[in-house]
Amino acid sequence: MSLLSEYNKIAEFYDKNYKKLMIIPFVIILFSTSFLIFHKISSGDFFYKDISLRGGISVTFSVNQENKQLEENLVKILGTEDVNVRELRDAISQKIKGYEVQIGGDIDKETIFSALSEIMGFEINETNSSFGKQTALINSSFIWDNLVLLFIAFLFVTLVAFYYFKSVTPALTIIISTFMDIINILAVLTLFKIKIGIGSIGGLLMIIGFSSDSDILISTYILKRKGKMLDKIKKAFFTEFTMELAAYVTFTIMYLFSSIGIIKHIALILLIGTFSDAINSWLFSAAVQRLYVEGKKK
């Protein structure tokens, strides 16, 4: 079968060149880290924050006519650049179903409702829309809290990995590889000016789980199974590939067809994360584990 032989070719290429290929994840993580640091220096923040972190108002309303100038007009009328408009579309027909508008800062809701009514040409008020308000008050400790959360998650994962492999190197490698995924996700989101909010944390934690999961799988094949290395790699490759394909498919569908902000956002994080994980698991984590076993044999 041609697909299988392609597969074998890739595995064989990987088997021969895995040491050289290690450069790729290092270049990527170097880029991501320096980009985030650059962003921090130039704008004061590592990443963009959405209104769930900074305070603001969100309004979601139904409409069946597109309005391309909605964002532009809102910026004009409200006199703030801090406006985010998201289209809600039908999952099947892709027809416009409504808009989700997020406005940061301290503009009161009456002003926003009247601006929206004026632009859309019909009355938008509290009864025919969904409306959310977030004061900046809630966010004072958010970043710190979530750093602690991520740290606890990492700690737990390290313990599990250490317990499973009974050895420090694989456990540490898995954690580093997962951590690199998180940095890459943040960098990609910031690169595309996508704002990070409370929902993002859920996605990030899920990626920690998913990514360490695939690392454990590959490591198990490399460290715990018997047989020739190339065979083990091929097997792990095949299983991992199917798993990742299933994950990509789910997350892509979630991202493309969901009209709900938080689901779309979590899906995007999972997509970027899975992609970064494919690179880091194979080119970094698996390679290090292999150097580790082969070093041990000598």
Partner: protein, 515 residues
């Protein structure tokens, strides 16, 4: 085959599926409205959790029916008919009863909180069903006691409206920030704001005379200390054995104290010391609704005394009940003054129609995701006898997850749905690991039994479960519990996978490849 069906893993899967079917309770096709809560006076004859079908022989088929009929109801005896489900799908009991409604602010008050009948028992929360969510933060850090009092005060205030169910939850996060979350279906934000800003009008009456009202209460002792035991629960012995008596001091204005002396002087004494009480009780009202259990005896030695610091006492069998009753009464009396001012930090209102379109969209995304993942699996394994079990097992996993959520009354919010969809993708992963391990073991030179291979595969599966659990647990302390829904659904889904569906899948695949 017989042996296969007798395997405990298969039995467990089948039982779980059947139980979930009961818990989710699909297809409630009755006509009527769901009674979410009952309060005085309706609570005298009708429990909550039943289906109200008619009032005064007027058929109630939906919420609009209910409200339009209740709007014009007079304050004469009300007869209600309701259905109580004893065993879902099989047996329900129809009952009727009658009670006398109260009049509050010139309106007839029944004390019934209703909701539209739902198609299933799964609770989707305000984000999908439409409603209002408010997050309140106290101005300073509250102690556990104060948190309990605040909850009570809020509850009392919100219950004053009585018509709608408004659950209040307390959430805190890692940094020790404290929040109170109020969520309810229907209604507007203005309604909630006015509720929180207004104090329920409090009155204490003896007979028909008002002794003191909310503005006469200068303060209420909330927490007693060793040196000043102005609020305490102590065990005392009585005819019925050991019981717990609570007492707490309220600080009244001079006028109120005089009024108390004047009114009590007219009352006669009943019984002899120490069980001597005046012939009328002191009754508490909030916005003219009598407080349940708000009738207190007045000890004889209080008669005709100008007391500015009377103690309010009561007796309950258990210490816990006595404590909670004391808190409730403290809350009522202190209702005007919360331990700390609360400010609204987050408000959210979802219109029911948008919620419905969200739900529809999510369902489509959900189905689409499942179909596509199955397609990937089908392309990979190409054998129907492998593909079909994988699909069926992952569908059971979702179904049992929903069953568990319905059982523990867990609200599935949008983030929770994201968790479930994502688990579809990752849940299938483990099945792939198991399948690959089993198929490959057969091809490899190392000849080991199918059982052995499945055991090996489960090593990976268990490790991945431990990892998922490890990453989701911290979310319990996450910001204001906002992502708890996500964490809980993911944990339920993965636990169902590891405990029920994956072992069953292992058994199924073993049977298929062996047979």
């Amino acid at each position: 085959m017989k042996k296969f069906l007798k395997d405990f893993r298969i039995i467990l899967l089948i039982i779980s599926l059947i139980m979930s079917f009961f818990f989710i309770h699909v297809g409630n096709l009755r006509q009527g409205v769901f009674v979410q809560s009952t309060r005085n006076p309706a609570s005298q004859c009708m429990p909550s959790g039943v289906i109200l079908t008619s009032i005064n022989d007027h058929e109630i088929t939906n919420l609009t029916d209910y409200y339009s009929y209740v709007e014009g109801i007079s304050n004469e005896t009300v007869r209600v008919r309701f259905v109580q489900e004893k065993l879902p799908y099989f047996y329900s009991k129809e009952q009727t009863c009658a009670f006398l409604p109260l009049t509050v602010n010139n309106k007839t008050y029944l004390g019934i909180g209703v909701q539209n009948l739902k198609l299933t028992r799964i609770d989707f929360g305000t984000e999908i069903e439409g409603g209002v969510k408010v997050l309140l933060e106290p101005e300073r850090k509250l102690s556990q006691e104060e948190v309990a009092i605040t909850m009570n005060v809020l509850e009392q205030r919100l219950n004053v409206f009585g018509i709608k169910e408004m659950p209040i939850t307390y959430v805190n996060d890692l940094s020790g920030n404290q929040y109170f979350k109020i969520e309810f279906a229907g209604g507007t934000m203005e309604e909630v704001k006015s509720l929180l800003e207004q104090a329920g009008h409090f009155e204490a009456r003896i007979g028909n005379e008002t002794v003191f009202a909310g503005n006469d209460v200068l303060d209420v002792c909330l927490i007693g200390t060793q040196s000043n035991p102005c609020a305490q629960v102590v065990p005392i012995s009585s005819e019925n054995g050991i019981v717990n008596r609570f007492s707490f001091t309220v600080y009244l204005t001079e006028e109120a104290a005089k009024r108390f002396a004047e009114i009590t002087s007219k009352l006669s004494e009943v019984g002899i010391e120490p069980n001597c009480y005046l012939n009328q009780t002191i009754d508490f009202y909030i916005d003219n609704i009598p407080v349940e259990g708000g009738k207190l005896n007045i000890a004889c030695d209080m008669k005709n005394k100008t007391i500015t610091t009377p103690s309010i006492t009561g007796v309950r069998k258990s210490k816990k009940d006595a404590q909670s009753e004391m808190r409730r009464l403290q809350a009522i009396l202190k209702s005007g003054n919360l331990p700390s001012k609360l400010s609204i930090v987050q408000t959210e209102k979802v219109s029911p129609s948008l919620g419905k379109s969200f739900a529809k969209n999510t369902l489509i995304v959900f189905l689409f995701a499942i179909i596509m993942v199955d397609l990937v699996i089908a392309l990979r394994y190409k054998k129907l006898k492998i593909v079909l079990p994988i699909i069926l097992v992952s569908l059971s996993e979702i179904f049992i997850t929903l069953g568990v959520a319905a059982l523990i009354h867990w609200t599935i919010d949008l983030a929770g749905i994201a968790g479930i969809i994502a688990s579809v993708g990752t849940g299938v992963d483990d099945q792939i690991v198991i399948t690959d391990e089993v198929i490959r073991g057969g091809e490899a030179k190392e000849v080991i039994g199918v059982k052995q291979r499945i055991k090996k595969a489960f090593g990976i599966v268990f490790a991945s479960f431990a990892v998922m659990l490890a990453t989701m647990l911290p979310l319990f302390w996450s910001h204001a519990g906002l992502l708890k829904g996500f964490a809980v659904t993911t944990i339920i889904a993965t636990s169902v996978g590891i405990l029920i569906t994956r072992p069953a899948y292992g058994k199924i695949i073993e049977k298929i490849l062996k047979g």
